[in-house]
Each structure stands twice: as C-alpha cells, then as structure tokens.
C-alpha cells in the first residue's frame, strides 16, 4: 500500500492552476466568446480558492442545530463568494451583449479579423 502524502495546500495549488488556465485562454484565444469563457474559468478559480480558505477538515455545513457542538466550516468566505458569483454572472451577461453588438458591427468576433476590418475601413 502506497501512502499518498497530500500537501496541505493542495486546494490552493489546484485553484492557482485553474486560474492560470483561464488566464492563458484569455490571452491567447482570438475568439471573443472564448475569452469570456476564460474569464469565467478564472472566476471559478477564485471561488474555489475562497471556499478552500473557509474549509475546516471534518467540518459540516454551517447550519447550527440547537445545542449541538458540531464543527462547521467557516461561513464568511461562502457568503462572500455568493456576491462574487452574482457579479461574475452579471459581467458575463454584459460581455455577451457587447459581443453581439461587435458582431453586428464588424461581422466577426475574431479579434485579429476585427483589426483587419477596422484598418480596411479607415483606408
């Protein structure tokens, strides 16, 4: 039997990796919708990080029954992340609306093609 030693900060490392994946998508993909998807992956990494900060090993959900002394996870990061999720959804909706307008104006949602169309229109 092999003992798998898990580093105590493994959740934080996983969220860092997720964040970097989202950042890489945001930087390299020329498609605007894929850029929004990358932004959402970065958002998920932040949510994951905060929930991991609030996690207590063997802790249950933060619902306190009367008189019980059960260990619960920290409710503050979860409450914060509800705000974060709402803001993330609103930003995504707004970005998609802007992308629809960009498509109507330029006929494409590829950033490099938008540069080409724009330079042609200026000439």
């Amino acid at each position: 039997m092999i003992d798998i030693v898990v580093h105590p900060n493994i959740y934080y490392f996983a969220s860092i990796v997720l964040f970097l994946i989202g950042f890489y998508i945001l930087l390299t993909h020329p498609n605007l919708i894929k850029k929004v998807i990358g932004l959402n992956v970065m958002d998920s990494a932040i949510f994951f990080f905060f929930v991991a900060v609030g996690f207590v090993s063997d802790g249950g959900s933060p619902i306190v029954e009367a008189g019980s002394e059960a260990l619960t996870v920290n409710p503050v990061p979860s409450g914060l992340m509800l705000t974060g999720i709402v803001v993330s959804v609103s930003v995504t909706a707004f970005a998609l609306a802007i992308i629809i307008k960009v498509y109507q104006h330029y006929g494409t949602i590829n950033v490099e093609e938008i540069y080409v169309v724009r330079s042609e229109r200026e000439c």
Binding site: N9, V64, A66, V76, G79
Partner: protein, 236 residues
C-alpha cells in the same frame, strides 16, 4: 503564422511567471497566523442574534444585508443594460423544432422546478439555499421554456414588462424592509437590532424579516436573470 506562435510563447511565459509568483506566495499560506474573531462571533452567536440556523443566510440577510442590496443592484443594472443595448427580434438559432417527447417531458418537469425553487426560497434560513439559488432555478425554468416551446410562447405567457414588474416588486420589498429597520429604531436593513420578534430558531416562521428578504431577493434574481436571457436571445 510565425507571429502567432511568438504571441503564444510570450503569453505562455507570462502565465508561467505569474504561476511561479502565485506559488511562492501561497506555498506557506496554511501556516499563516490569522485572527478569525469575526467568524467565531458569527458561529457562536449567529443563531441567537439572528434567529436563522443557516449561518450563510444569517450573514447575507442580517449582518451584511447592505452588501446583498448591492448585489441585487448589480443584477438589476446588468439586466437593464442588456435589455437596453440589444435589439428586439427573435434569434434564428432558436427555430429548432423539438419532438413531442421533449415538449411532454419539459411540461412534466416544470412543476417540480417550481416546487424546488419555492422550497429553496422559503427555507433559505433553515437549510442550504436561499433567495439566490431559488431565483437561479426560476430563471433556469424560463430558459427551458424558451428553448423547448420557443421565444414567442415565453413572451406571450410572461412578457418582459410583467417580469420587470415582479423585479421592481422585489426591489421595493427589499428597500421597504430596510426602511422598516430605520423606523423601528435600528440601522438601515436592521433585523434583530430593531427589536423584531425572532421566533424559535429552526421553525419556518423565524429569523424576523429574513424570509421576507429571501422572497424579495428570489423574485429579483429569478426575473432579472430571465430578462437577461430573453434579451440575449433576441437578434436581428
């Protein structure tokens, strides 16, 4: 072609640099000395101070209710802007016809969606859930209706004017709860500080004004996200 690969290499090195920086800063984070006095106060005194046994709801709708009103405003702003800048026609991608099996099964599922969303909103202070999750399920219902029965059915049954009326009702209800706290001698959105009767923690009618504010946020989030989706599916 060469330009693109150079671009990708540059982005990759930038991302790896950021990754190394983050790894260095987070390597020892679990040994950090932090004071958790705020969380301990919430966990130890949350139930007797707010009357809600779900501590996340206690934080969202009692201690930090002012932030929740900000969140609701963010959704309201997003819904208004998306409805404002997008044109008013049906999207061409939504003209797919589904078989009767899909229509029947969606019609069968929808009542259960109503039940789970109302349950999540009404029991928000007792069990996992709350106004936000219940509202998201309501908006998922409207997305299902648009995709299966078509855009016109949805706008005939629940048109945007009626939905925004419900959204305004939610916003006004939440604001009047806040003003109620002011009238009863507390701060804005005060619940237990204003001396509202809290009830027995664990019962359905407990937590003072918390079920009402859950209802307000649920109505607001559900209709706000529905309006966002309806506006996004319109197209020239």
């Amino acid at each position: 072609m060469k330009n693109i690969s150079f671009n990708k290499l540059f982005s990759f090195s930038l991302v790896s640099l950021l990754g190394v920086l983050l790894l260095i800063s987070f390597y020892d984070i679990s040994n950090l000395e932090v004071t958790l006095s705020l969380s301990e106060h919430y966990i130890n005194y949350g139930v007797e101070e707010t009357g809600a046994i779900n501590l996340v709801t206690a934080i969202l709708f009692d201690y930090r209710a002012f932030d929740t009103i900000g969140e609701a405003t963010v959704i309201f702003t997003a819904a208004s802007i998306v409805a404002l800048i997008l044109p008013q026609h049906e999207a061409s991608m939504l003209k797919t016809e589904f078989t009767p099996i899909v229509h029947q099964s969606i019609a069968f599922i929808l009542p259960f969606f109503w039940v789970i969303s109302i349950f999540l909103i009404a029991y928000g202070h007792l069990s996992p859930g709350g106004g936000f999750s219940g509202g998201v399920i309501i908006s998922a219902m409207s997305i299902l209706i648009i995709f299966t029965y078509g855009f016109h059915y949805m706008t005939r049954r629940f048109n945007v004017t009626r939905l925004s009326l419900i959204e305004d009702f939610g916003a006004l209800l939440f604001l009047s709860i806040g003003v109620f706290g002011l009238i009863y001698g507390g701060s804005f959105l005060a619940n237990s500080q204003a001396g509202v009767y809290l009830g027995n923690p664990g019962e359905l009618l407990s937590g003072g004004l918390m079920p009402l504010s859950n209802l307000a946020v649920g109505a607001k989030v559900g209709t706000g996200l529905s309006i966002i989706f309806i506006s996004l599916t319109r197209e020239d």
